[in-house]
């Protein structure tokens, strides 16, 4: 059995690889160098869920160097058609709201899939996404208000990476 220890160690190391290298930002965002400012894309986060029916809320963030506006594209699911009017992000005492723009609506696996986009300033996004208090998303529709929350542990992991990305894009904000 002792002879097998190096092999077993290798196997377990590989299994633990995602945990060991959780701060590897490659899996968190992508950067494309281009004329007029690099474009940064923070990959979709699906850690949030509805506080009532636990349906998923998925969002991603696109930022562009030298641009004060960021775009959040998000998906939520409802049993009845429920188009979004605005998206709010709340973190502690801070809250920001923006109107939404429809990307598409689809009917998938017996649920309505709504995909929308909302624009926020870099300042507001930084306040919401780097706060130690887990943020909450609220989608305002015609008939209801849908709230989505995240577990504290997952949020801590997310903001640790998001904070690094913010520093990469806007180092002057940390001076």
């Amino acid at each position: 059995m002792r002879k097998n220890i190096p092999l077993l160690t290798l196997i377990f190391s590989l299994l633990l690889q995602p945990v060991l290298f959780s701060q590897n930002l490659d899996k968190f965002y992508s950067r494309r160098v281009q004329e007029g400012g690099d474009i940064f894309f923070v990959f979709p986060n699906n850690d949030f869920e509805n506080t009532v029916n636990h349906s998923d809320f998925i969002f991603d963030v696109t930022l562009r160097e030298g641009n004060d506006t960021t775009h959040i594209n998000f998906t939520y699911y409802t049993s009845e058609p429920s188009p979004a009017r605005q998206l709010s992000i709340k973190s502690g005492d801070f809250e920001t709201t923006a109107p939404t723009e429809k990307l598409y609506v689809d009917f998938v696996k017996h649920k309505w899939e709504h995909r929308y986009s909302a624009s926020f300033t870099v300042d507001d996004l930084q306040k919401a996404m780097t706060s130690a208090t887990p943020c909450q998303f609220r989608v305002e529709t015609k008939n209801e208000s849908l709230e989505y929350a995240v577990r504290h542990k997952k949020w801590q992991k997310y903001i640790a990476a998001f904070d690094k990305v913010f520093y990469i894009i806007f180092p002057e904000r940390f001076e």
């Binding site: 059995m1 097998n4 290798l10 196997i11 590989l14 299994l15 690889q17 995602p18 992508s30 494309r32 281009q34 004329e35 007029g36 474009i39 894309f41 990959f43 979709p44 991603d60 696109t62 562009r64 775009h71 594209n73 998906t75 723009e101 990307l103 598409y104 995909r115 986009s117």
Partner: protein, 102 residues
């Protein structure tokens, strides 16, 4: 020792089933990015992704088409397309298409 060999054979069987397509792949671990397509359209301000996954090579789900990725960000003019392929010991594998455009 027999149990260990059986375990390795089972793991090998499973690994072979859940590999992900890429120019280079690792039998034990794969984490690669590569280009998929490029067009003559200029610049990009939007990014969209689409993903498919496989577990043990037994179950595979998802829509990682360029169309799905473009649709997720409202992209109508594609600039270029990359993809990312990941797999761990053939247990889980994923393939993500990333579309850049306007």
């Amino acid at each position: 020792m027999r149990k260990f060999i059986a375990l390795v054979l089972i793991a090998g069987f499973m690994s072979g089933c859940a590999m992900v397509g890429a120019p280079v792949t690792g039998f034990l671990y794969t984490d690669v990015k590569a280009p998929l397509a490029v067009t003559s359209n200029a610049g990009s301000s939007k990014v969209g992704t689409a993903k498919m996954q496989s577990i043990l090579g037994w179950v595979a789900t998802g829509d990682a088409s360029i169309e799905a990725a473009a649709k997720s960000a409202g992209i109508t003019k594609i600039h270029h397309v990359d993809y990312e392929a990941n797999s761990i010991l053939g247990i889980v594998a994923s393939f993500t298409v990333v579309v850049y455009g306007e």
